[in-house]
Symmetry: C2
């Protein structure tokens, strides 16, 4: 049986490797249009900031590594069409621009996502960039080192935008974030997002909220300033477009593979598309929010990895299921760690829940233990039955631990009363005597009564 995987970053490479492990007798071919496969897109901001000094480190595996396992990887090869009736693909070799037709028995689409780039005046000027894949990285590095920008404007206050703001700050580039929404971090509740907002201001990042990008002005082919919808002109010799990403679904759409309500490829829990034998995984497909049961598009590396594993197993004859996501995410913004799992209070309301919530100060050690670090924790629960609906944590210290505990609690459908009597690892260097999760859950339990 010939299995073809389209796309070779997180989901694609994981799927190929898993399919091979499940049944090494199949022929497995992977096409990747970039020059690299199996790299960590999530590591790219840290390469730009210099935290990761050697950019080769974010490349986890080489085509030769896959070849050793009997997986044929073709880089610089783009699949340009799928004929689902004949079960064949047209593949363009980007090195010599030749096309070939290849048949498949099973197919995995892992085409990922790409940044949304508005079609506005000046968008093609030099110095206007996106950061998504390893090809973007080279451009970024060239620009930063050769042109030494002084003024950066980041369009969009999402995770990538905020991560880059820190990088630019470290590089002593004056940075402005332009965001169309009236506040940053829409997935977080506003009082939590405000903590990050304030922290950005403390770090001299300028925020232009409630204002979109209108056009870019240039000089000698190079970007010189950003004009916002309200008419503000912000000088800029570096502009990053980070207003969001969209799934690469054109190939699937042209083959009449169904898209879901989010616009990404629809799949069942086996990661199979509407066409039997064709699977999808990673940023190009949608999934299910395990709390609301609704379709959600969650283009994140770890989810891609999990989905790739499921698709890889099933394409090789297995029967694995991906149950969906809780919307867990984490990132750094200057000193702050910013993390969320489950529903925000606002999204809980929008989903028809009657939520209760608590926002409280937490810390990662006993109060008398040196080096204690503080954070703000918010828990959201269902007033009807006390079940945890979500958590947000922002600050220093064990923010990631708080969110992973909450993510596990969501997985176990735990109530605040359950969490109030959790048995966590306590010792003064690792936790206050009662974990902030226990304290917060206790307060919410009292609100229920």
């Amino acid at each position: 049986m010939r299995i073809i995987v389209i796309g070779g970053v997180a989901a694609g490479t994981k799927a190929a490797a898993k399919a091979h492990r499940v049944d090494p007798n199949n022929e497995i071919i992977l096409y990747q249009d970039e020059s690299e496969v199996a790299y960590s897109a999530c590591g790219l901001p840290y390469v730009i900031s210099g935290v990761i000094a050697d950019e080769r480190k974010v490349i986890i595996r080489q085509p030769e590594d896959f070849a050793k396992e009997g997986i044929q990887v073709f880089i610089r090869h783009r699949v340009t069409s799928i004929d689902k009736t004949k079960q064949q693909l047209t593949v363009k070799n980007l090195q010599d621009n030749t096309d070939s037709v290849v048949t498949y028995d099973r197919l995995i689409i892992a085409t990922g996502a790409r940044p949304i780039v508005p079609n506005i005046e000046g968008i093609k000027l030099d110095g206007v960039l996106t950061l998504r894949n390893i090809t973007d990285l080279a451009q970024f590095k060239t620009l930063l080192t050769k042109l030494q920008p002084q003024n950066a404007v980041i369009i969009g206050a999402g995770y990538i935008g905020l991560e880059l703001a820190e990088t630019f700050h470290d590089l002593k580039i004056k940075t402005t974030i332009v965001e169309k929404a009236t506040r940053i971090l829409p997935k977080f509740d506003s009082e939590m997002a405000q903590l990050v907002h304030n922290h950005l201001l403390e770090n001299h990042v300028e925020l232009l909220l409630g204002d979109g990008l209108a056009r870019l002005h240039g000089h000698n082919g190079r970007v010189a300033s950003v004009e916002t919808e309200s008419g503000k002109i912000v000088p800029a010799d570096l502009v990053v477009i980070a207003i969001g990403v969209k799934p690469n679904v054109e190939l699937a759409k042209e083959a009449n593979i169904e898209l879901g309500s989010t616009g990404a490829i629809a799949v069942d829990s086996r990661m199979e598309t509407s066409v039997p034998g064709i699977y999808a995984a990673g940023d190009c497909c949608e999934t299910v929010n395990r709390i609301t049961g609704k379709s959600i598009w969650m283009p994140l590396g770890d989810i891609a990895n999990l989905q790739g594993r499921v698709a890889g197993e099933n394409v090789a004859g297995g029967d694995a299921h991906f149950p969906g996501v809780f919307g867990t995410a984490i990132f750094k913004s200057f000193k702050l760690t910013v993390a969320i799992t489950g529903l925000s209070e606002q999204s809980a309301l929008e989903s028809g829940f009657d939520p209760i919530s608590i926002v409280m100060a937490g810390s990662d050690r006993a109060r008398y233990y040196p080096g204690k670090q503080d954070f703000t924790l918010k828990l959201i629960a269902n007033r009807t039955n006390g079940r945890l609906l979500g958590a947000q944590a922002i600050g220093l210290g064990s923010v990631d631990k708080m969110i992973d505990i909450a993510a596990t609690a969501l997985l176990g459908k735990l109530t605040c009363a359950d969490l109030e009597n959790a048995d966590f690892a306590y010792s003064p260097p690792f936790s206050p005597i009662l974990s902030p999760i226990i304290v917060a859950a206790g307060i919410l339990t009292n609100k229920l009564i």
Copy 2:
């Protein structure tokens, strides 16, 4: 109503405070035989090591703080007998040695535990210490500063023994641990305990295993050497007895309050003893292992705190329940963090389970992210249904996070298949793309099939 609390460290002070919050109209009296209340016994090793520079910091609250809330705290007062028929106590004022009789409506026994001290030759020599309460601390500090010991012997390789070994090492005191069992850390599986064993040797701590304390030899009233059961003589000018603790149950026993199979006071889930109206909480009482359903004695500060809260609520008319523990514990041994939750593989076998397990290397960041730290993770699951039974983690980095995720999974009765599709917070500075918990759970799930 008059509520009397006997004991004022973790469980007692928590119970008093909670009872007051639930119903401020009751009279609440707390008797504590030491000079301090509301201190963190878990912080004491760090005071001795100097990590916590100011020992007053481990004292969380003063009697005056309680007085402001209307809770009367009597320090240096020891309750010497309970008359459950007359509902009265005999209380000795240790300052003037006078006795008084006090009636109560509801009683909470929170008398804690004390170190086991064998009745052997030389046990009363100067330089022979235990470390349990704040009174011991003063003795310890005096001895360390005035007598400048050169050779320490720690009897017992439990948490306190291992924590002190590190402290003595830092103080440049040559240290030997004498342990009657043939290996350290009996609650951990042997291959995990071996990691700590090796680490102790690397740090020049001598280990005498399978050998007990026979007697102590002295010179001018001061300890000079330890003689083991096998006849070895180890020079020692400081000996710490850390072979374990036992619950302070004499007062309860004399009042015919039932003890449980562990020897600690038996309580129901409301923390009520066999005598209606008399509650117990903390290290003096037993609880239930939530996996095996069996009685277990778990004298730990966080458990005492949780139990104190339940007892305090119920004594004031509430109906709170403490569901038991999973046996979670964490401590530091030199560079290593050592943590456990649930059953070890060995204890799972002893409890009649058919366990499967995986021991694997884990780390706390993406492999390419600087500062990545490594640990060893063991997961144990029930072969019959894949349910997680326990976890152990030893090493650097996010050991505490791994164990708290596992503890939450135990609370949610999650299977490895559940955990394999958990949605944890991933970003390169906080986790590998797949959490070690997910990887380990995946391997165990494959073992089930």
